[in-house]
């Protein structure tokens, strides 16, 4: 559309049609156009490096593996050297670490926590109870594995999980993020 037709179109529109056309014009240029794809090709490695080295898990401890998660963030098995800082609210987190059995009373609340996190987000199932129910698989009140209602990226076996295993799980998640790197603007594989 050349400029004169554009201006004419703007003057003949109703206000809500105008807003619909005007909304996110910069985003659309960036995401669908050549400029966006160009920026992504240049900067995706930078975005991936930033995401990989600053995974923020949620402060969420269910059972015994939570104590090992706490020990992993202390001075002996320092998790902060991988860039891991625990945040208290799901809005600021990338990672949901499920470290214990999920009971039927907790299931809707955990799903709500997962939905409150912003993209991109990942889930690690830590320990036998989160993977498949663990020693309590027979019980009437737990869900047999958290992957029945939340998609899981990395499974860490153990009962309880040793802090070294947890750090290796984080490193595997970092490898996964590097392997599936996507452009931030265009959301396509680069």
């Amino acid at each position: 559309m050349d400029m004169s037709k554009q201006i004419g179109t703007v003057m003949l529109m109703k206000s809500k049609d105008f807003l619909a056309w005007f909304d996110d014009w910069f985003g659309r240029i960036m995401k669908k156009g050549v400029i966006g794809r160009g920026i992504d090709v240049l900067l995706t490695d930078f975005w991936t490096w930033a995401r990989v080295n600053s995974i923020y898990p949620l402060h969420f401890g269910i059972m015994c593996c939570a104590l090992e998660m706490g020990a992993a963030s202390a001075s002996r098995f320092d998790a902060q050297r991988l860039g891991v800082i625990y945040r208290s609210t799901p809005r600021q987190c990338d990672l949901l670490l499920v470290n214990g059995p999920v009971s039927k009373k907790l299931r809707p609340d955990l799903r709500r926590l997962y939905d409150q996190m912003a993209e991109p987000k990942w889930v690690i199932a830590m320990g036998e109870c989160a993977i498949s129910g663990g020693p309590f698989w027979q019980s009437y009140s737990i869900v047999q594995g958290v992957d029945k209602f939340i998609p899981v990226d990395v499974y860490i076996p153990g009962c309880p999980v040793r802090p070294e295993a947890m750090l290796e799980g984080f490193m595997k998640l970092q490898d996964k993020i590097r392997a599936t790197k996507k452009g931030v603007l265009t959301e396509e594989r680069v």
């Binding site: 401890g61 015994c64 020990a71 002996r76 907790l106 609340d109 309590f136 309880p160």
Partner: protein, 360 residues
């Protein structure tokens, strides 16, 4: 101003576990409180009825994972009472030593979490560092850092590894020196004192009527400790003091736990000196007789109890677990009324919540 109910939990950095504290606030002041539990209910008591006595051992570790050896030992003691078994002397002394090592590790975990809640992150890192030493000792005994399954019906799983006495004495000497540094950190911190002195008062008569036990009760001017009142294993041959404090607030509970850690160091030294030589395990029958038995111990969080009914088979008919925190949490309302929202963290942290035993 209208009053409103606020949910603190189940996901909240204060909670250390999954429970919901609903408080009714009028501005900043709390007028009512209602703890809600059950988010970690795994139906342990029903699972216990379906497993044999040997298979239940590792599951009792997961009852309270902060002090898992205590529950393991309590279960084995109750089954031995039902079966009428007499265990060797050396096993009793090893059990007492492991209980006290576990008590120090559990109190250090409490101290780390409490300090982190109140903003004293140095205390968190120091306490976790010292806890690693005791976890290493327990790992040398049993093979695992957290859930041990070291006490078995009839004794303990295995004898002490070589050089264990030397390492244990070294660790206890080191820890007694470091405990003084910990105390200087907290006693000298004006903010810690402001947040804990005079906060969360629970008077003695009300505490006993509500069924509260453990350091919360001993901080309320009641010198009650199962290890002295109803000694089990070899506690009647060991010389130690019961920690008690007269103020009934969070500061008193903190002092009680620090004193208990010092007393545990004394007990560990005495067990290493007085331990006799001999076997550590006896053979146990597979079937238990009909009848019932109770076992009572002093858990780091209070009075833990198991009531076991056997019916002549190799599975229990009913195994009921009394968790000290189940009752102390129900007393939360009496401790919270009249204080401000920011004090909730200090008060609930001083009870040392561990949801594994509360919800079972």
């Amino acid at each position: 101003m209208a009053e409103m109910w606020i949910n603190m939990g189940p996901q909240h950095p204060m909670t250390h576990g999954l429970w919901n504290l609903r408080i009714k606030v009028d501005g900043e002041v709390i007028t009512d409180a209602m703890p809600e539990i059950g988010y970690l209910h795994r139906g342990m008591e029903k699972i216990f009825e379906n497993k044999t006595y040997v298979q239940i051992g590792p599951l009792t570790d997961r009852l309270c994972y902060g002090s898992s050896f205590t529950w393991n030992h309590l279960y084995c003691m109750t089954v031995e009472k039902l079966m009428g078994l007499e265990i060797p002397e050396r096993a009793k002394w090893i059990r007492v030593m492991a209980i006290e090592l576990q008590r120090i590790a559990s109190h250090l975990m409490w101290l780390a979490a409490y300090a982190a809640d109140l903003g004293l992150l140095t205390g968190f890192v120091w306490a976790m560092r010292d806890r690693e030493i005791f976890l290493d000792l327990l790992q040398a005994l049993s093979g695992s850092r957290l859930t041990y399954n070291y006490a078995r019906i009839g004794g303990v799983a295995a004898d002490l590894p070589p050089d264990f006495e030397r390492d244990c004495l070294r660790a206890v000497d080191y820890f007694e020196r470091k405990l003084k540094e910990h105390e200087n950190l907290y006693n000298g911190s004006k903010i810690f004192k402001m947040r804990t002195v005079g906060i969360g008062i629970l008077k003695r008569e009300e505490a006993i009527n509500l069924g509260v036990t453990g350091p919360t009760l001993r901080g309320s001017n009641a010198k009650i400790d199962i290890r002295k009142d109803q000694p089990y294993e070899v506690y009647d041959e060991i010389d130690f003091e019961v920690a008690c404090h007269t103020d009934c607030d969070c500061w008193a509970r903190y002092i009680v736990r620090m004193t208990e850690m010092k007393e545990s160091c004394k007990i560990i030294r005495q067990t290493l000196q007085k331990m006799p030589k001999g076997p550590v395990r006896v053979k146990t029958p597979m079937l238990a007789p009909s009848g019932d038995a109770i076992g009572v111990v002093e858990d780091p969080r209070g009075e833990g109890m198991m009531y076991l009914i056997g019916d002549g088979t190799d599975r229990p008919y009913r195994l009921k677990v009394r968790s000290p925190l189940f009752v102390t949490l129900s007393a939360a309302k009496s401790m919270l009324l009249g204080y401000k929202v920011a004090d909730v963290v200090a008060i609930m942290g001083s009870i040392d919540v561990c949801m594994g035993e509360t919800d079972r």
